[in-house]
Symmetry: none
Subunit: 252 residues, 2 copies
DNA sequence: CGTTATCATGCAGGATCATGCAACCATGCT
DNA sequence: AGCATGGTTGCATGATCCTGCATGATAACG
């Protein structure tokens, strides 16, 4: 087996099992532990895994998905969230997608705001507890754990039965060709239901999402009426400006 | 198990259960207490937890203030919760009402348990995030802020459409004459829907609820098959023992 | 105040690691 | 063909880390 091939094998195994024990891999591949150790050392130097005594662990701990995602760009998310919170007018019905940016939006809501918020995220709903003036409509369904939102036919039906003024949509990719994308097919379907239920759609996009695409397409960028991005992010001129149906872009 | 992995495991467990007892972890991981103690000491040195006599506590801003949990001794609610968690068998479908006692139940669930949990509480649903083996069905509806559960026709319909093996019901009063009671009419109606959807109902009752009644009646005590109460609580002989349809009483 | 549990420390055995060295192989050049 | 070169592998060695046990110190509790 080639060295590079073996390293790829180790990485694949690591991401599958969540840990690597050097001695076990040596036995499995019929090689000395020294060789495995050297591989692990190289991979760690490349930043592809975390070397620990006895083996290796994946860099992105799989056990804390949401809590670590929340600490990604906290200050930036708060800026986007503050701008978004100001877009909600009293009395409006607003759909809030899941995600840490929208969680920041909840925290940025002005005290005493009277509005109706519809969400399929239990985390968002729980965070709305202190906002006495806000009526919360929670959309039920099977919980999709990775994003912590409900999905499936029940959730879709819940959104189909209502009309909202605004919708804050979460996406994992904004791409000139692929449009709005996300990582899961079921989730993409629900997001389409969100869009269909709202008169106006707003996307808060951290810089890492701009210009990227995820596997599952929600729809074209034109579905979004307003895009809130960071002032220091990529130049939106790089992507589909010039077309008539482009979303309005707010830089904060 | 790798040392670094074990430390991550301890941290994850701590953030989930809110408390670590060194001796328990040693037994669970089949290692000496010395090793666990060393792990905890290292983690404390890194500022990742608060070391206390007998175990460790989280120092991240947990929602319940630290003063209320500054002791390792399991609070009363946690004792009830641990007993209740042991009543859930793998594969069962369980309805979980809202409330802090049931939140403690979620934290007391054994790791890796495979079951389906149905709830109308976004807080409960959010707390189930780390339990990868548990399928969560969230019942939607209008959020009743005081109890942080959904209520109304939509929620009732959600429960009407399913059958569960078990139901953990939250009440604010258990009274020989009034039966099971709660503080809100809508909530009482939903609780009846919970009971109707489950084959067996269990109530975890802290001592302050026993012998009291709230304005809105859910139903007679006989609807409950098992009652879990604190060993040091009021003598259940004070209330409707002797009748044939009384719930089984577990004192912990 | 006494009992019990928990803790810190030192030590020993074993596992794991980094380093240097030699053997081996493929490749390219003379 | 003959040789140099670079890369890979296995082994030996001393260093380092992890773990369990023993010991005395300390904290919790009645």
């Amino acid at each position: 087996m080639l060295t590079a091939q073996r390293k790829a094998h180790l990485l694949a195994r690591l991401s599958r099992t969540g840990r690597l024990v050097a001695a076990d891999e040596a036995r499995a591949l019929k090689l000395s532990e020294d060789t495995i150790r050297r591989d692990l050392r190289d991979l760690a130097a490349e930043g592809l895994l975390l070397r620990v005594h006895g083996g290796a662990l994946p860099l992105s701990p799989t056990h804390t998905p949401l809590s670590t995602r929340a600490t990604l760009h906290p200050a930036l998310k708060d800026r986007l969230a503050a701008r978004a919170a100001a877009m909600i007018r009293p009395g409006q019905t607003v759909i809030l997608d899941g995600g840490t940016t929208h969680l920041a939006l909840v925290r940025a809501l002005p005290e005493g705001l009277c509005a109706t918020i519809v969400t399929h995220s239990p985390v968002i709903a729980a965070a709305l507890e202190p906002h006495a003036g806000i009526a919360v409509l929670l959309i039920g369904g099977r919980l999709f754990r990775h994003s912590m939102v409900t999905t499936g036919a029940v959730a879709a039906e819940g959104f189909a039965r209502l009309r909202a003024d605004l919708c804050f949509l979460g996406v994992t990719g904004l791409h000139p060709d692929a449009g709005l994308t996300t990582g899961d097919a079921e989730e993409a379907a629900i997001k389409r239901a969100l869009l269909a239920a709202a008169g106006e759609a707003i996307v808060l996009a951290t810089p890492d999402k701009i210009g990227t695409a995820s596997p599952h397409i929600i729809g074209p960028l034109a579905l979004v009426s307003t895009l809130v991005i960071a002032a220091e992010g990529p130049d939106p001129g790089l992507w589909p400006c010039g077309t008539s149906s482009v979303p309005e872009i707010l830089r904060v």
